[in-house]
Amino acid sequence: MSDSTVTVTGAHAEHEHPPYQRHHFASMEQQVDTTSFAMWLFLLTEIMFFGGLFTAYLIFRNWYYPAFVEASHQLSIKEGTANTAVLIVSSFTMAMGVWCAETRRRGALVLCLCLTFILGLVFLGIKYDEYHEKYEKHHVPGLHYSLKSFTDPASDPEVHNAYPDDKPLMPDMARHTEIYFGLYFAMTGMHALHMIIGISILAFMIFRARAGAYTTGHVTFVNNFGLYWHFVDIIWIFLYPLLYLISRHA
């Protein structure tokens, strides 16, 4: 069986390079460097992609602050904080996974990737629960959106008891809660889509990691995926205070 762990030092060895080095690269170092830079550029595009949503959010929050405050009270701070903690721990397990790959610990790598995967699923599960609740309360734009919780807070005892000082909004201000929820679903939905893509890639990686693909010196894939995963975590780090923590004080 050929030894796939042989690596060459320097580019002078004509064809004695690792099987995972592509032919248009002069050395493994160039390949690692290049693919890592490519992933960072991709993350740049993601910054600008979410950036448009953050800009829209900024403007409407300034314009319709009361609507945004009361609408945000409809979100469960417990679930939001839990999700934040879940993602932070998953970022930790992912970073540990990279370390395991770098130090060639195959079993530990598989464990870290599995934990990241499971935490990702937990996040999505909690998100689903939140979305479901919004659907039931008719707070999804376009699906029989209802202003009742905002024009008449007493009709919504669960939230009303937690925030008794929330005044009933006039209909024109209450209308604007639909923009809040539109942005809420757009932003968290786009984020969740990125989570789903990440989890799918994780599943593939777990398979490959079990076969030892990432613990023979070729850690680029795990490393670059780690960058993606951390970025998705960072997006949530900003979504959490902006959507959940607008103003929870009495």
Binding site: H23, T35, M48, T55, G142, G182, L183
Partner: protein
């Protein structure tokens, strides 16, 4: 040997296309559809782009036919709206944005920097597939009714008041956007990481600098367009309210987000063309480009400033007057780096040994027409004049001067210049010079009257117009017919040349540049061994010394 051409071809009696080249290396459909070779992908792009250009051009023909008469008699107003919208969408997203980068850039850039391929060949192929998917979606959208919102998808028209294929077309443009993003990403990584030994940043050909600047714009700007289209789809499908005044949304927000990409987009379109002009002007004046550093930095400056000026598309839309002051000033500033380039090319020509082969003719056309188009842009940057000229034919003339008189001429210049390298064969010179002349005449006859029409007040995007504008419109349509012939001819004779063109050899233009120091068509891996670069770009003395050394023809 004639002294008014720099062309040096090998002896046609004995010359042959090299047996092993990127075209002959592998055969079969799959070897093309699953290729990683940047040159094959560039060829795939060239064919697809020409196809979509033809559709966009046909739509332009329909527009000009309708505008022959003041009444909306050829087609209903709604249909006319669809025709100009699809013309704009196809020409902008499926032709102009990918044109030079995806064809010439893909083909040449690795060779120009001395690399074997782009950094991410599979992503390159993915870019092409995304382009094809987007193109297919747009054709589907056209067949099932098209959109009539204009290529700018202005809200609330597109979200609330039309029942045409906004969502399909919006998603198609979204996909095309990602094709563009991946191309730009690939280019940036390649230029940073894959240069040959000795190829420092300031030895790069200016074509590479231009594509680098355009790639930065692609990577940073296009995602904002993507998210804007997502918001349009959500607004239209679910009524989330961000753009709906009835729910407190702001239609101007759409325009901010849309133009944040679409203004840099025009620089994505023109910068690679400017790169072509640098190469062609240098070769056909036998002189290094004057002020290399200035041209290189001006490309990057254009890319940076491009992000600061978008609101000049919105001066009359209801933005605050104070912001129009800021953006008006910034727009005037962005003209400066472009002007620097024109000065530098002019000084390159000064005291050069100029010859007038076809690529040079197109470049002359570019320099004149882009200058006119660019200057009219400065008129529009001034808020006061813009209030009167915006949404009239003045704008239409302005952007056609820079995009068609500028970009499309640069594209044709580049295609002709690098055709011998790409195919190993020369195009027929006389007929191509004739075609260039026809294009120039046709272009001016088509679009110059439109400046006057705009000044006189004819609005854009109208199927019907007051009868006093008819004469100028007839001139414009006549010009369009001539222009159409001018564009048809290259398609015909370039195809002809594939079989019957003269064998070109490695370096028919005696150009500097690494791509000219290897065979035509190139090998799949570009170079038999990676070159080591020890000279600056446009070093004609180095070329002369090298030619004296080489005693045999490849």
């Amino acid at each position: 040997m004639s002294t008014d051409t720099i062309v040096r071809l090998p002896d046609q009696a004995t010359a042959r296309i090299p047996k092993v080249n990127f075209l002959s290396k592998e055969n079969g459909l799959l070897s093309w559809l699953l290729t990683g070779d940047h040159k094959r992908i560039a060829t795939l792009y060239l064919i697809s782009i020409t196809f979509f250009f033809a559709i966009g051009g046909a739509l332009a023909g329909l527009i000009r036919l309708e505008l022959l008469t003041p009444q909306s008699d050829l087609m209903a107003a709604d249909t006319y709206n669809k025709v100009f919208s699809m013309h704009g969408i196809i020409m902008v997203f499926l032709f102009l944005v990918p044109s030079v980068p995806a064809t010439l850039g893909n083909f040449l850039m690795p060779m120009m920097i001395g690399a074997k391929d782009l950094a991410l060949p599979k992503i390159n192929l993915l870019s092409w597939y995304l382009y094809i998917i987007a193109g297919g979606m747009i054709i589907y959208s056209m067949i099932t009714g098209g959109v009539d919102t204009g290529w700018t998808f202005t809200v609330p028209l597109s979200t609330h008041y039309v029942n045409t294929n906004v969502i399909t077309t919006g998603l198609a443009v979204f996909v095309a956007g990602f094709s563009s993003v991946f191309t730009g990403l690939n280019f940036i990584v390649t230029i940073h990481k894959m240069r040959a030994p000795g190829m420092t940043w300031f030895r790069l050909p200016l074509f590479v600098w231009s594509n680098y600047a355009a790639s930065i714009l692609m990577v940073l700007g296009t995602p904002v367009l993507a998210i804007t289209l997502v918001l349009i789809v959500l607004e239209r499908a679910l009524g989330i309210g961000v753009f709906d005044p009835a729910k407190g949304g702001d239609p101007i927000l759409f325009q901010h987000l849309f133009w944040f990409y679409s203004h840099p987009a025009v620089y994505i379109m023109i910068l690679p063309g400017m790169g072509v002009i640098s190469e062609v002007v240098s070769t056909f004046s036998r002189k290094r480009v004057f002020g290399y550093t200035a041209v290189a930095f001006s490309s990057v400056a254009i890319a940076v400033f491009a992000f600061f000026v978008w609101e000049h598309h919105m001066f009359i839309m209801g933005v605050s007057n104070y912001s129009t002051l800021v953006f008006s000033l910034l727009t005037m500033l962005v003209a400066v780096p472009s002007a620097i380039k024109i000065f530098n090319w002019s000084f390159t020509l000064y005291k050069g040994s100029i010859t007038f082969e076809t690529p040079m003719l197109y470049s002359f056309g570019f320099m004149g027409l882009f200058t006119i188009g660019g200057l009219t842009g400065v008129f529009l940057a001034s808020t006061g004049t813009d209030i009167h000229l915006t949404e009239t034919y003045f704008i239409v003339a302005h952007f056609h001067f820079v995009m068609v008189g500028g970009m499309l001429m640069a594209f044709l210049s580049g295609i002709h210049f690098w055709w011998p390298k790409w195919t190993g064969r020369m195009y027929p010179e006389k007929i191509s010079q004739l075609a260039a002349l026809i294009t120039f005449i046709g272009f001016n006859l088509t679009f110059f009257p439109q400046f006057i029409l705009g000044m006189l007040g004819m609005p854009r995007r109208y199927a019907a117009y007051p009868p006093e504008f008819q004469v100028l419109n007839v001139f414009s349509t006549a010009g369009a017919t001539i222009l159409g012939i001018g564009y048809l001819l290259p398609i015909l004779y370039l195809t002809w040349s594939l079989k019957y063109g003269e064998i070109a050899g490695d370096n028919p233009w005696q150009a500097t540049g690494l791509e000219w120091q290897t065979q035509s068509p190139p090998l799949t891996e570009n170079f038999p061994e990676i070159p080591i670069v020890d000279h600056d770009a446009y070093d004609y003395e180095w070329l002369e010394r090298k030619q004296k050394e080489v005693t045999s023809v490849g």
